[in-house]
């Protein structure tokens, strides 16, 4: 009997599942001698799902006893049985196994339950149970899973797991202009393939690996490695637990803060915050990371090149090549109760980063001539030709950078759905690598950065979500400018308020709309005083997963 033929009479019973199981028990007991006669007394988990509750030649499903009649049968059947107590125990064990397999089979055939969106937390997202892996094809060598691997590797020793997702979006911005600037298009009203990822995870008893490739069109078509990591694992014996120790090497996430390790597949908000993007242009860097957990405690410590790999593609410069031999060291310690509590959980931690930036030297110049049109008559007159002497090269230098971070995330499950509240703050010096890169070698002073983010998301059943995020980033807390001969403090803080609404077909499709109100002081009013620049933006994204 296949599982489908077993399920079909059970399904109409609905909530009377226990009664159906009882009927199944009765059926097995009634035909137990025949089953034993077929020399199949033991059934392993790996066996094909076929319940030997009825011998070959048994009556068809139409002649099968109904649930009520089956419920009525066991007493008389058992009383009339002459089987020994050992046989009864064996049968009881077998019933238990069959019940477990029935539950597993139902999980595979039911639509996957919505996975709650991941709140920003550095702890590994809820990892799938072993039963969530579905073999692809008949070989069982490659699996897929409804609980998509994202920020961290698959840890259960299930072999290979294949997954991927696509994020396509239409975005519009008040900054958009049909012009070019420094060779770059200023048009921001466009369709973009933000991410398309294909990922292969491999996990065995002592080792794990992950390879994730990405292609996008943010700065033109570009493809690259988003993740390529190999891990040694010292597993925790407890099921579905974070390992005692994992050592991961390759292209992976630095251990810093919560937002960086959040995972782009689960995150509902379109991008990381302005400050996080300034600190880490991409989520991944090349390096080595040791991480794990003991109980609710989590730790991570890593050394990295200190040149995050931007998945949007580097615009200019060294394109992800680290010009300095100095490595960045980062780490995080914290707690995560998500594995223990059922209706609520807390994740919190503190992080640090210490590394070095790079001041590029000059390569030297040849002598030349420069024309300065002093009288602006567009002709070379006497005294307007200036000799430019050749210059010797200058050396490159490194400078120190550091950062401290604290993060907190709460998750509460209520009847309305899961509520997630998160907050994170970072204080840094010379860490900005994307928005306003400091160079204390050239300027003679260091830049202090401040970054904070807070927000929440609220599930609306399993098919909808609303959320809001506020973040502020100040790339230079000590900036002054001269206006009218006076030195005035200049506020460079950028506040972003981001409400979002989303729809979800659990585990397979998302439709999200986010509007970003950007409040800053990047424009000037009619008096020349800094004021808010019109640079709000909106994004509508479709995400498909497998």
């Amino acid at each position: 009997m296949s599982i489908e033929s077993l399920r079909s009479p059970l399904r109409p019973l609905g909530s009377a599942r226990r009664g159906a199981v009882a009927a199944l028990v009765a059926s097995i007991v009634v035909h137990a001698p025949s089953a034993l006669a077929q020399q199949r007394p033991t059934t392993t988990v790996e066996d094909d799902i076929e319940l030997p509750a009825r011998p070959s030649g048994a009556p068809s499903d139409a002649a099968q006893p109904s649930a009520t009649s089956a419920l009525a049968q066991p007493a008389s059947a058992v009383s009339s049985s002459t089987a020994s107590e050992d046989l009864l125990r064996a049968l009881q064990q077998r019933i238990d196994r069959l019940e477990a397999r029935l539950v597993q089979a139902e999980q595979r055939t039911q639509p996957p339950v919505a996975r709650p969106p991941q709140a920003p937390t550095a702890a590994p997202p809820a990892r799938p149970a072993a039963g969530d892996y579905t073999p692809i094809g008949a070989s069982s060598l490659v699996h897929t899973t409804a609980a998509r691997p994202d920020a961290y590797s698959v840890l259960e020793p299930v072999g290979l797991v294949l997954s991927g997702f696509v994020q396509a979006q239409y975005e519009t911005s008040q900054l958009s202009q049909d012009q070019l600037l420094q060779g770059m298009a200023l048009n921001r009203d466009r369709f973009v393939l933000r991410r398309s990822r294909l990922r292969v995870d491999g996990s065995w008893q002592w080792f794990a690996m992950a390879l994730e490739l990405d292609a996008n069109t943010v700065r033109g078509p570009v493809a690259g490695v988003r993740r390529a990591e190999a891990s040694f694992l010292w597993r925790n014996a407890a099921n579905n637990a974070v390992p005692w120790l994992a050592i991961t090497a390759g292209v992976t996430e630095p251990a810093f803060g919560a937002e960086l390790g959040e995972g782009v597949r689960r995150r509902w908000f379109m991008e990381r915050t302005t400050g996080s993007l300034a600190f880490f242009g991409g989520e991944a860097d090349v390096g080595l990371r040791a991480w794990g957990g003991i109980g609710v405690f989590r730790y991570a410590l890593g050394v990295f090149n200190g040149v995050p790999l931007d998945d949007r593609g580097a615009q200019t410069g060294l394109r992800g090549v680290d010009p300095s031999r100095h490595l960045d060291v980062s780490g995080r310690i914290g707690v995560d109760t998500s594995a223990r509590a059922r209706s609520w959980s807390v994740a919190a931690g503190v992080s640090f980063l210490s590394g070095s930036g790079f001041h590029a030297g000059d390569e030297g110049t040849k002598p030349g001539i420069e024309w300065r049109d002093n009288n602006q008559n567009a002709m070379i007159d006497a005294g307007e030709l200036v000799a430019i002497a050749g210059r010797a090269p200058t050396p490159s230098f490194t400078f120190a950078r550091w950062a401290l971070n604290a993060d907190l995330a709460l998750r509460v499950r209520t009847r309305a759905g899961t509520t997630r509240v998160f907050a994170e703050a970072t204080m840094a010096t010379n860490l900005d690598r994307g928005l306003l890169a400091p160079d204390p070698i050239a300027t003679g002073y260091e830049l202090r950065q401040l970054h904070a983010v807070a927000g929440f998301t609220q599930d609306v059943t399993q098919y909808g979500i609303v959320g809001f995020r506020w973040d502020v980033y100040n790339p230079n807390s000590d900036l002054f400018e001269e206006r009218r001969g006076a030195i005035e403090p200049k506020n460079q803080a950028i506040h972003t308020l981001s409400p979002l609404v989303g729809l979800s077909w659990p585990s397979h499709l998302r439709l999200v709309f986010q509007y970003d109100f950007v409040l800053d002081a990047l424009a000037r009013d009619a008096r020349g005083v800094p004021t808010d620049l019109a640079n709000n933006q909106a994004t509508l994204r479709v995400q498909g997963d497998f």
């Binding site: 567009a378 009013d525 008096r527």
Partner: protein, 298 residues
């Protein structure tokens, strides 16, 4: 009530912010300045431009970093500049340091860049000081002469000045090393390697030579006063594609003409022809040059 307040807040947030267009469509741009679409003006204001200096009123075609310096009264916050009756707003530039030699009046240094589409001919620039409340004071005007891409001996601004007898101009659209070549009535061939025919005229520049681009992408053969009479043939030669796949060129002939009033002149276009060149045309030398235009003098 709460809903309407929230809606108003969202509306304010959505509409907040000052646009910051590049202003490339404007006839003139100011470096480090903001383009303000409209500016309240009070001609009786005390905030005034007290002094300014414009070293040269003549503006070359697409000239950049043309400096205009000056001072404004001590109560001013910024200066606003535009070309009178042209453009879509004022460029606002914050005032800088006080000048102790001028009663601590606040100084400014405006670097002007002129667009390709700026109308040629006489123009008037308008300078105003902006007070603390964002209201501009009275205007200070200064004249400019905006030249076009074709040499005309300032005829566009002063019709009594005679333009060259003829100008053969070649312009193109992409950053390639394109050369204007002419076959004179006496059979001589002029080009980048032999640009001058003495008093009979000369090619003014080798634009894009060695793929160093000047942004103008134009070469002119200027016949000032003593032309060779007869038939001229105009060729275009693609010396180096500079990595581009193709270029579109336009050759034109501009002749001196008598003006509407006595003693005045004008410059009129008498012939025009277009050509398209691809990277396959590179390196063919004189034999590969493409004949695009013929004309005769007188």
């Amino acid at each position: 009530m709460r809903r309407s307040s929230a809606a108003l807040l969202l509306l304010n947030l959505a509409s907040c912010g000052v646009p910051s267009p590049l202003g490339l469509e404007e006839p003139v741009r100011l470096e480090r300045a903001m383009l303000v679409p409209s500016l309240p003006i009070d001609e009786q204001r005390a905030s005034v431009i007290t002094a300014f200096e414009n070293p040269n009123a003549v503006v070359a075609h697409r000239q950049t970093a043309k400096l205009v310096t000056g001072r404004a009264s001590r109560d001013a916050f910024a200066v606003a500049l535009r070309l009178q009756n042209r453009g879509s707003g004022y460029w606002v530039l914050p005032l800088s340091t006080p000048d102790p030699a001028a009663n601590d009046e606040l100084t400014f240094e405006a670097a002007l860049s002129f667009a390709d589409a700026a109308p040629t001919g006489p123009a008037v620039a308008e300078l105003r000081a902006v007070g603390a409340d964002g209201v501009a004071g009275p205007a200070r005007l200064f004249p400019l002469c905006l030249l076009g891409p074709i040499p005309d001996n300032l005829n566009v601004c002063d019709p009594t000045l005679a333009p060259p007898i003829a100008v053969v101009s070649l312009g193109w659209d992409t950053d390639v090393d394109l050369d204007l070549e002419l076959e004179l009535p006496d059979g001589r061939r002029l080009g980048a390697k032999r640009p001058s025919a003495g008093p009979a005229g000369a090619i003014d520049v080798d634009a894009g030579a060695a793929c160093r681009h000047d942004g103008l992408r134009r070469e002119n053969f200027v016949i000032r006063e003593t032309p060779l009479l007869g038939r001229y043939r105009v060729y275009v030669s693609l010396f180096d594609a500079c990595g581009q796949s193709q270029a579109h060129a336009r050759a034109s002939v501009h002749r001196r003409a008598l003006g509407a009033r006595e003693g005045t002149f004008s410059q009129v276009e008498t012939a025009r022809a277009d050509a398209q060149l691809t990277a396959f045309n590179v390196g063919a030398g004189e034999r590969g040059a493409q004949l695009v235009l013929e004309f005769s003098l007188p």
